[in-house]
């Protein structure tokens, strides 16, 4: 009887010695605040001017030739992060400086998105006539990034069209600045 009692006692001693208990716990909160972002730029970032010239016709009675003396295509890159994913943003363009010579229209054609970006990139508005009033060129921009540099985002192609020959007259260089703005829709 004594042996049994001692055996039971020893078993409990052994078991109790093997019990590993949780001693203490502590906690810390981790927070990340991911902000709203709306940023765009034009690539290439250096010398992104476009030169277009109106050359005199080679023969009398033939319309003037429009030449793009810089072949470089521009690209628009953007990054957008919205608080509410149901909302969207647009990019508008306008002539913010200078004046387009009389009788001539300046057009901007925006391509569909291509490149290394991800997310809900915007949709091109196609070809629009640039004026002093801002017009949407890319719409429906959600949470996305286009990728950085040329060949990312949307390409921008500019063209001149003569709308009224009667008003076209010889001028020296006419410079104008195009302003792009990304805004909440």
């Amino acid at each position: 009887m004594k042996i049994k009692q001692i055996t039971v006692f020893l078993i409990f001693v052994l078991i109790s010695g093997k019990l590993y208990s949780q001693l203490s716990n502590q906690q810390k909160t981790v927070r990340l605040s991911i902000p709203e972002i709306a940023i765009l730029d034009i690539e290439p970032s250096y010398n992104n001017s476009i030169y277009i010239s109106l050359e005199q016709p080679v023969k009398p009675g033939v319309q003037a030739t429009i030449q793009k003396t810089s072949n470089e295509k521009l690209w628009i890159n953007y990054t957008s992060s919205l608080l509410n994913s149901k909302n969207s943003r647009i990019i508008k363009a306008e002539i913010s400086g200078g004046k387009i010579p009389d009788g001539i229209d300046l057009y901007l054609e925006v391509s569909d998105f291509s490149g290394s970006g991800k997310g809900k990139t915007g949709e091109s508005s196609g070809k629009i006539k640039l004026t002093n009033y801002s017009k949407p060129i890319i719409t429906g921009i959600g949470n996305c990034y286009t990728g950085d540099g040329i060949m990312n985002g949307h390409s921008l192609s500019f063209s001149l069209e003569i709308n009224n020959y009667a008003k076209v007259h010889s001028i020296s260089d006419a410079d104008f600045t195009i302003l792009y703005t990304i805004t909440d829709n």
């Binding site: 019990l19 949780q22 906690q27 909160t29 902000p35 765009l40 730029d41 990034y145 286009t146 985002g153």
Partner: protein
């Protein structure tokens, strides 16, 4: 008959209670990330693929009872870590690593700390982090997050990181 059951149970209770709560875990510091890491400086880019914590926290393991410093100084322990999400984006992973040895009052004579030096993901279930022996103070712990993207939109994400110390 009563004695047969009573004695072992009493002994069990005594031994368990004597082992429990001998060590405690304390945390100093806060887990912060630089807001500048969440700024896009170049249009078209996303956030960096990995963002490191701007400040570390320090874990300290110490005896609750003063006399245990002398009579139970070989005490071994292990730490587990987990997270409990308050508002978390499942595309974002958070990792943790021990980035130092901490300090001890006895110049490391009987202190030991093993593991946890490689970044490992923090899951919603407890996972082993590192183990050690005796009192060690201010063990620095760093964090990093992966998968933060503008494609997830502007958001506040929050989780509670839980550390639990067990006897080893």
């Amino acid at each position: 008959m009563l004695k047969k059951i009573l004695y072992p149970v009493l002994f069990l209770l005594l031994t368990v209670s004597s082992q429990a709560q001998q060590l405690k875990l304390d945390i100093n510091g806060t887990i912060t990330f630089n807001s500048s890491d969440y700024m896009i400086k170049e249009a078209g880019k996303d956030f960096p693929s990995t963002i490191n914590s701007a400040s570390n926290i320090q874990l300290s393991i110490s005896f609750i009872n003063f006399w245990d410093k002398f009579f139970d100084s070989g005490k071994k322990w292990k730490i587990y870590v987990s997270k409990s999400d308050i508002n978390w984006n499942q595309n974002i992973n958070i990792e943790i690593a021990r980035v130092g040895e901490g300090t001890s009052l006895r110049n490391g004579k009987r202190e030991r700390i093993i593991g946890g030096t490689q970044f490992q993901p923090i899951l919603n279930t407890p996972v082993y982090f590192f183990r050690g022996q005796n009192e060690i103070f201010n063990i620095p712990v760093a964090f990093k997050v992966h998968g933060v993207s503008v494609t997830g939109g502007a958001q506040e994400i929050e989780s509670v990181i839980m550390f639990t110390i067990y006897e080893d």
